[in-house]
């Protein structure tokens, strides 16, 4: 029984099978991301009411918060698939982890700069060394560390192991980021959505925020698929399925 499941997993996680199945998914995720994103932007910029404290500047929330959520979400995907790659030696999982790192880094960067651009008019400073901001900056460096290890180590399996371990160890930073606003006195406001209570936000603001979060996730799904396809081609460059595929191009 276990052997049957194992065979099944091996078959469906083979890079060749993944490559042949993933192309249409890219299209569907892209279209879905575009539609949800446009609708979310429309609601966020035109329909959502002005904030009574922050005026129009709060509209940065519709990209800042989804970007920050993505920075954590992609990190967890990266760490979990690294773990799967290390423990069960499923090559596709290592590919997903490697493909996720640059996307995660870009969303972390976006969360940091949109936060700075929101902080300036609200707090009077682009940057303060408080717990939330500093732990998010460390997240960016963890992504950079993962990418540096990937490219510095010649042997692919050692590279996956080393960078994967870094990703797994770095998971300790994730709860620190989430709870930083509770554990330390910080300028950053507390959670308004992800908490055990009703979200303290007007429904007309909450809906575009959630739409944008879904759009960002769908966008990540599309991009990570394309990047994983590239990884599969490159890592299997000496295998027959890639050779046959390239010769047909």
């Amino acid at each position: 029984m276990i052997k049957a499941i194992w065979n099944w997993i091996q078959r469906f996680s083979s890079p060749k099978y993944f490559y042949s199945m993933s192309a249409p998914l890219v299209t569907w995720f892209s279209i879905a991301a575009l539609l949800t994103g446009l609708y979310g932007l429309y609601l966020g910029l035109f329909v959502a009411p002005t904030d009574y404290q922050q005026g129009e500047s709060y509209r940065i929330i519709f990209i800042h918060v989804p970007a920050a959520w993505m920075s954590l979400f992609i990190y967890m995907v990266m760490a979990i698939s690294s773990g799967i790659g290390i423990i069960w030696q499923i090559r596709l999982a290592d590919m997903v982890a490697a493909a996720s790192a640059p996307i995660g880094a870009s969303f972390t960067f976006l969360a940091l700069v949109t936060g700075a651009l929101w902080g300036k008019p609200m707090w009077g400073a682009y940057w303060v060394w408080d717990a939330r901001l500093t732990s998010e900056l460390i997240l960016l460096f963890l992504y950079f560390g993962y990418m540096a290890l990937q490219s510095a180590i010649e042997d692919q399996r050692s590279a996956d192991k080393a960078s994967g371990l870094l990703a797994i160890v770095g998971v300790v930073n994730i709860p620190i980021i989430h709870y930083s606003v509770e554990w330390w006195n910080t300028l950053h406001q507390g959670a308004t959505v992800a908490k055990f209570d009703k979200p303290s936000m007007h429904i007309d603001m909450l809906i575009p925020l959630l739409l944008m979060a879904v759009a960002f996730k769908l966008f990540y799904a599309a991009v990570v698929l394309v990047r994983t396809r590239n990884e599969a081609l490159y890592r299997d460059r000496n295998r027959r399925w890639v050779r046959e595929l390239i010769e047909r191009l």
Binding site: S57, L117, Y234, I246
Partner: protein
Amino acid sequence: MNWSEFFNMGGYAFFVWTSYGLTLFVIVANIVSPILQRKKVISRIKRAIKRENIELANQK
């Protein structure tokens, strides 16, 4: 609400639109870079195949 009011963002135009502009930049970069990566990977493999074919021919 008219358009100039909309673009003014209640005086926060610089902060709001720079944020949205950077978001657009990150999204475009995330679309373009894997496309370029794919081209690079395919051309590298094609070159490797060519090189191997030449080596095979020389051995004969």
